[in-house]
Amino acid sequence: MTARSEQRPEQRPEQRPEQPSEQPSPLLSAHALHKSFGPTPALDGASITVAAGELIAVMGPSGSGKSTLLHCLAGILRPESGTVSFDGLELTGCGDARLSELRRSEFGFLFQFGQLVPELTCLENVALPLRLNGVRRRQAEQQATEWLERLEVDDLAAKRPGEVSGGQGQRVGVARALVTRPRAVFADEPTGALDSLNGERVMQLLTTAARDTGAAVVLVTHEARVAAYADREVVVRDGRTRDLAVAR
């Protein structure tokens, strides 16, 4: 995958910039993001572009701003300045309802802990995003079953999250993140709570499933072995981004 410059001034995020044919237009881009929590700046001019189907690892030390960047890209947090766009739509200009709809229909999410609803079975958890999008129960559960099979955890369908291991729960989480066939998946330290073997398996299943469905993945991690599943990496330091491929 060809890396693109994150900071070229002509690459305005609110436009679909014309690029050479070998460089696809970005599906998702952020430009010059600033975000603070109280007096502490979390993002200080961060920029990033993600092409359709591309898997990008966002790396950096703890507290560098990488999770804040992911939350701004996914429309969960609003930056104080700068722009975020998804497929030509300016997220920073959207209302809460539109952002919520976008997150349900176009985005998938995978976190380190707790994304599964403890009261629901694994099958119901995976079917939940489809149900929220108005899909009938039977159809939603049929699709959820297919995803559980794909992630090799279909035997857990009737169990609740508290009854499965961390690795199994995270596979269910991958199924839930991808069940709506989102165009972008946001994964924040998805292997952070897993041992090496389970972490490897989750990454293999996540990357294979994302490639099969054509989803772009923004993967926040501090583990180089996890980042190695990505097409390229962007490093965040002190709230600023650096694309290593561009820096070379």
Binding site: P61, Q204, A228, R248
Partner: protein, 174 residues
């Protein structure tokens, strides 16, 4: 990897001809870099001279006579000793990079760029190994994992050094 002791291990499982040793070695350990026959026979000659292997059969053929080698008691002791001994950890990379970083700081060059360039190269290789691992069998996975863990350790050192550059600069410029 010690070629001699690897040969001893292969011969301990059963007596073999030179070409058979090469075939089995390439199959298990070659990873795209097969042994030359010259290496095989030079190594066998050294093991023979040191009394670690012996010729237990000579078979006439159309070409030169084919010798079959077997391991001696001394050879078994040698390979057992090698297998039970830990390898020396090799801090090969850090010393070179440390020298580069210090020289960059002393000459007012951007030392962080050296670390970032190395980091990008490490990650490039890690991506390549990860792809190979995903496409490979269990043996490929284990070999690639070993390399990946080592590269990851180097990367941690690069990150730690990047975080300490200001302190290092102050010390080397004092």
């Amino acid at each position: 990897m010690s070629l001699g002791q690897t040969f001893l291990g292969l011969l301990e499982s059963q007596p073999r001809h030179g070409y058979d040793i090469k075939r089995v070695y390439d199959e298990h350990f070659g990873r795209g870099r097969s042994l030359h026959y010259g290496q095989v026979y030079a190594t066998l000659s050294r093991l023979l001279k040191n009394g670690l292997v012996e010729v237990d059969a000579v078979e006439p053929g159309e070409g030169p006579e084919r010798k079959r080698y077997s391991i001696t008691d001394a050879g078994v002791t040698d390979v057992a000793d090698w297998l039970s001994r830990p390898e020396n950890p090799e801090p090969y990379l850090q010393s070179t990079l440390y020298t580069k970083v210090v020289l960059a700081l002393l000459t007012d060059r951007p030392a962080a760029d050296i670390l970032d360039t190395q980091r990008a190269e490490h990650l490039r290789l890690m991506r390549e190994l990860t792809r190979r691992k995903m496409d490979g069998d269990l043996a490929d996975q284990l070999v690639c994992d070993h390399a990946l863990f080592h590269l990851e350790a180097d990367l941690r050192w690069l990150e730690l050094t990047a975080a300490r550059l200001d302190r290092l600069a102050a010390e080397v410029r004092r």
